[in-house]
Symmetry: D2
Subunit: 441 residues, 4 copies
């Protein structure tokens, strides 16, 4: 993979290529072409997404042509054709489209509960829909490109990674933009550049903690904790501006991520979400409107670069993260990145075969986590609980076992157990029936 003279071909396949995000990843590949000389980029989507793929695919072709790099862009609705001999496969699929996400958020809010789209109830529903499709892709890869890397950024990225690690031999890394945002936040608080410090992070996707803030040989963790920003510029747009409980946060011993507000300020986030929902509907509905506008822009045949408006779509840094990761693997650069991989003892009180998100060294071998100190009692139990929820969710998604699914919701700290959990589960299964054949055999 390293010797670019002998290796003529470098084939990347993007599944869910019709996504409005695609221009970002295309731009990322163009900017890195000297170090990451992709020769074929395949954008793949399902028939239901034909119109979108045609629009975004033509834009991608115009962008590549404008850049003048040696790379062919292929559009395809035949996943198998595309996967043949791929080197990297990226997945950014959304099973059930934004309409499914709207339902994911509405159901809990309707019951007066948090509509967290990743580790909460929404993420649970999304995992049930997404995991079978991702495992189907893995089955194809095992035959057509068994040595390719699967770089997944479909949410819930951690749970999806765990499913692939447990149920396929395909090499995989899961990706999220939250660690990038946290690094930026720490840089702001310290008033230092990112190259000047090391901020190792470990936990699970959307549930990650920074364990140290190494600056000039000292650990400034407590200083950062004492000045933690809940409204950092780098905070994802889907996270509410809700202050931390100062006394609790300062006693954590580790630095929480933006998504921890769901667990540490549950009552406050819920209050705000319900209020927003009454005023503006769900976040998913907003996103749907933004997307429609973006596709209108993309249709413009004069457009040959990524439009500025895309940056307001959220998901910033995702394609940077993906392109950097692929480049680090390709170039065996041993760079430090925070990604989703096999636990293997890194977090000691959860199983070895779990997926974790952790700061890793990246090269042709994939991503190897750093060694971490044991998590403090303030968070170790909560991490173990969330991992149990994730394990049960993977089991339910793969087997379609109703008991496992109910167990997952019973464990989830954002869902009250008992009749409420059961009612929510039944409603989720019912409205997602078309995407959950494993439960309706």
């Amino acid at each position: 993979m390293t010797d670019s003279n002998t290796r003529k071909k470098l084939k990347v396949v993007t599944i869910g290529g019709g996504s409005s995000y695609t221009p970002e990843i295309v731009e990322g590949f163009i900017l890195r072409h000297s170090k990451l000389p992709i020769t074929e980029l395949w954008l793949v989507d399902v028939e239901g997404g034909r119109e979108k793929l045609e629009i975004v695919g033509q834009l991608a072709k115009r962008m590549v042509e404008k850049a003048g790099i040696k790379c062919t862009v292929h559009l395809s609705f035949d996943r198998k054709e595309a996967l043949k001999d791929a080197d990297f496969v990226t997945t950014q699929i959304r099973v059930g489209m934004l309409d499914a996400r709207i339902r994911d958020e509405r159901i809990p809010l309707k019951h007066g509960l948090l509509g967290q789209e990743t580790n909460g109830l929404g993420g649970f529903a999304k995992a049930l829909r997404t995991i079978p499709v991702i495992l189907d892709i893995c089955r194809d890869m095992e035959r057509l490109c068994p040595n390719a890397w699967l770089i997944n950024f479909s949410n819930p990225a951690g749970i999806v990674t765990e499913a692939v690690l447990k149920h396929s031999k395909i090499k995989t890394i899961g990706l999220c933009n939250v660690p990038i945002g946290m690094n930026k936040m720490v840089a702001e608080i310290l008033g230092r550049e990112e190259k000047d410090f090391l901020f190792p992070m470990v936990g699970m996707n959307h549930f990650i903690y920074g364990t140290n803030v190494w600056v000039d040989g000292e650990d400034k963790l407590q200083e950062v904790l004492n000045n933690l920003e809940y409204d950092a510029a780098s905070k994802p747009v889907n996270i509410q501006d809700i202050p931390w409980q100062t006394e609790q946060i300062r006693h954590l011993g580790v630095i929480p991520c933006f998504y921890h507000q769901y667990y540490y300020s549950t009552s406050d986030v819920l209050e705000k979400q319900l209020h927003d929902y009454e005023s503006n509907g769900t976040r998913a509905e907003t996103v749907k409107a933004v997307e429609a506008e973006l596709f209108e822009l993309y249709k413009d045949k004069e457009l040959t670069v990524k439009p500025k408006q895309l940056e307001q779509r959220g998901g910033a840094h995702y394609s940077d993260a993906a392109c950097n990761l692929i480049s680090a693997i390709y170039n065996n650069s041993h760079e430090l990145m925070t990604v989703n991989v096999r636990n293997n003892g890194t977090i000691r009180n959860i199983p070895d075969n779990s997926a974790i998100e952790a700061t890793c060294v990246v090269g042709t071998y994939g991503a190897i986590p750093l060694n971490f100190p044991e998590l403090p009692p303030t968070v170790s139990g909560l991490v173990a609980l969330m991992k149990s929820f994730e394990q049960m969710t993977v089991e339910a998604a793969v087997t379609g076992n109703y008991g496992a699914a109910l167990q997952a919701l019973t464990l989830n700290p954002l869902v009250p157990s008992g009749k409420v959990a059961k009612a929510l589960l039944d409603e989720i299964l019912e409205v997602n029936k078309d995407y959950l054949p494993q439960f309706f055999k």
Copy 2:
């Protein structure tokens, strides 16, 4: 401790001796006198409990006299005098009396939350009040009877045991009647006698699971799980008659205890508790009325045995458990009992120095847990979370650190984090001010 010829003295001190339960433990000692020849029984209480101790103490003296055993009953308000050269010290204290418990239950219900008196919000408040007093008793014991055993059954028994294990050298075992009730329930479900099976249990106090049901060389765990009773005769009276979520329970892989209904049927228990509260007030208020009646009975100078009515008070089997435990230690009998001790690797994903409740072998060495299989993912994370809550509660109780206390409530799955948790904490600290000097220094 074994040779009754050379050992003339066997001194037991019961702190909180003015409790309405005392006649039960006195009866227990009388019934076991041939195997456990106690020569001195000291009933100790604080000045504020003088009237009760006088009443119950006179009854105890009449009971012992009637039984005709060689044992002197001493009443004392001077703990130090009583502890001198004790062999066993039992603690059944209630700091703040039943009025504090009424507040413990009222505060959460007022906020529309569960008033769980042990591991929940009520138990949290009780731990903050009780731990400093128990540690004071330990300080006295370290000087006056350093080799004595402290047998604690003040709730929350697990958290109190952890505090003693971490902050004193005194040998201690924590005691609860729930395991006895669970054994009885399994016997009913199997239609077998208790001697015919082994039902090893492990977890934490009021949060314990049976891991196997060994009958005739087979493990009938799933069979018991499929027939689990939520309304067993052996269920504590303070636990609601609320059906389990069948599909979830059958998928657990271990057998939950009665108290797990708070975690597995949260919405249902809450609904019922709020309803009961509106109709009848708190459980604590009911108990207070029952107690008043009992003390009236105790005053009767003709009464020389434990009155039948005491059995309806709840807390059945507690004194049986205590007497059996003391006898097993004294006689080095290696009997199996389920008690609270140091974890020491028994549950692998919580710290070694934690308190756990587990089936143990009991003798002059105290209680040694059996080896247990690793807990399944359905429960291992929840156990780790609850242990984190307990660790933070002990830290808060010992240090009076506000951040630690808020952390504990933030972790507790029965309390919504954020402003609500903070408001609850502030109210708990305020109304318990007289018993929480560690927070008001």
Copy 3:
């Protein structure tokens, strides 16, 4: 298994029934008949042992008849016939007879090395010969008596137990008399009866340590260590009278077993063994002569009880241990016994699926180890090393892999690695060729 009224049959099968030890186990069953009402005792042997089985079998029949108990003794050379519907199967086989043991001891002594028959070079050779036969027995049991217990006392008992645990579903417990001897030694040193103390032991077979000496609530471990006897009456006759290195032993923090002299006084034992070998030949040759005499005695048709001379044969307490173990399982008595079972986290730095020897609670469920403190650094590494040797030996015995076999000897601290280890291995394989088909495929 518990209700003797409804259970008419209790069938025990002893494989290797022609052993000179058999009268002991027969006597054991007779003495315990009221609690352990065996109805059928099958003594099984191979054709090559026909003469011995006939002699010892007739003695067994006379003993049972004399005792007047309701039990039929069957002699059989058809293992399958015998195993059908068995409740307990005991194995006391010696693959290759005493002649193989003579070679096991001679080969190392010839090279100037220790001839340890269990965990050393001799035990290694014996494991290679014995494991395939025991696994064949397990295959038969899986079909003919899948719920029966396999009670193995063929040496190396720990390694054989590990092979069965890893490669069969048959329930098994491995048995050794060393723990019984150690308990007796501690009783002598303390001047107390065994019922007065608890001496928990953990480690591996012939490599076990006592971790505490609980007497009257105190741990007298250091006191026992300071007075440790190397020539206790309870020491096995095959262990040399060699003093411990006092300073080293007192610094151990745990109590070694008799066999640890091979590891703690290597140079001294070797010197003595080589001297004895020159004077008297191997221990195995002595044993062979003793056995011949015993069989002469057994032929006497007037003999209806176990002859006194058998007690001098060594292996004392083995049949007591076996009978007590079977009785404890049958009667679900929860007695404490020190036997070989699955590790399952008991010793933390060796694999869960390893066999360990540990003090356990015994009942119809088999044997559950107690929880133990972490082993001190003085011994934890050596235990881990010996376990590695055992793991490699099991792998070699099951697969016939030469590399695994050479690895096992390379790891063994009693064998110098390099050319010497290879030469020894080649010689062992050669002289045992007839019993090692797995290596000569």
Copy 4:
């Protein structure tokens, strides 16, 4: 430490500055001056080494002057003066000089035993002498330069690192050249450049294993193992040319280091060592002669660069390793290096607070190990045993406890336990009496 504009001073102190190796480290600092702008280099030695320090110190001054860099070289016999406000302290001390090493090697050979100078008997003696002196240096550093890094390359580097980690707050990293040699060997076997692969290593100093050989996304470990060279160009000169036992090595599952020949080919190395000893005396004596020649060269006032002859002295790459390590810390470069640090769960079956040697990421935070797969059973037990030996050696060196010292030798697989171990220990203590005040109080 990162901003070279604001940081005027960069002070390095080399203790044992009179060593013949010093010109190498001086050359290393000169070559890296643009990235590692050392302003003060203090060479410190004891009075007994005055002559050597004067000679080598003058050479160092001439080298620096010739190079024309801004750096002052100070010679000092006052450690405290030198340490004041140091940034980095390197230790290359040899307590007892080469004469002590000659004795370390002679004593075992005289008894017909291996004279391994690091983890064996020689290393044991060296640890007893060296640890008290290093801890004295730490005491000084704690007062005079508490934030400085201690970079130790005095052997046994792993054991010394463990002593500092356990008994001082000074930040330390231990250094060895073996990992550099192993990387070079793998490069040769693969026929690839070092930048093309990742060869993560873990274990202990002089007892380290490569766990994977990542090339182009594949693990070529078995391929390298099948072609392992015992006589690689990169092998240290003090290691014998002795072939591996091919079958055993191929079955290891990890790649051993050169020093493993002591453990895997014990009989062969011993034979060769004894032969060499008879012909040429000890390795230490050869080294002593080479050193005398070097100092003659150093005296030449015309000499202004490191003389070529030094390269034949052995210890190649040591100063490269040291300079690279200091530069990576100073520049926060996150480079991968294999050094000695706290275990912290990296190797799971040895204590967290142990020293290990492992591939780490290096920056201003020091060295953080990568996550490693669990060691296979072929080596995990031996690693645990060697760590026990190291733990006991540290305990003996710090406390002067005779029992701990005898325990260490009893555990060491290269020393036969019993009378021989005791005799060796007594002789080692006697001849090193002047350097072991802890044992002669």
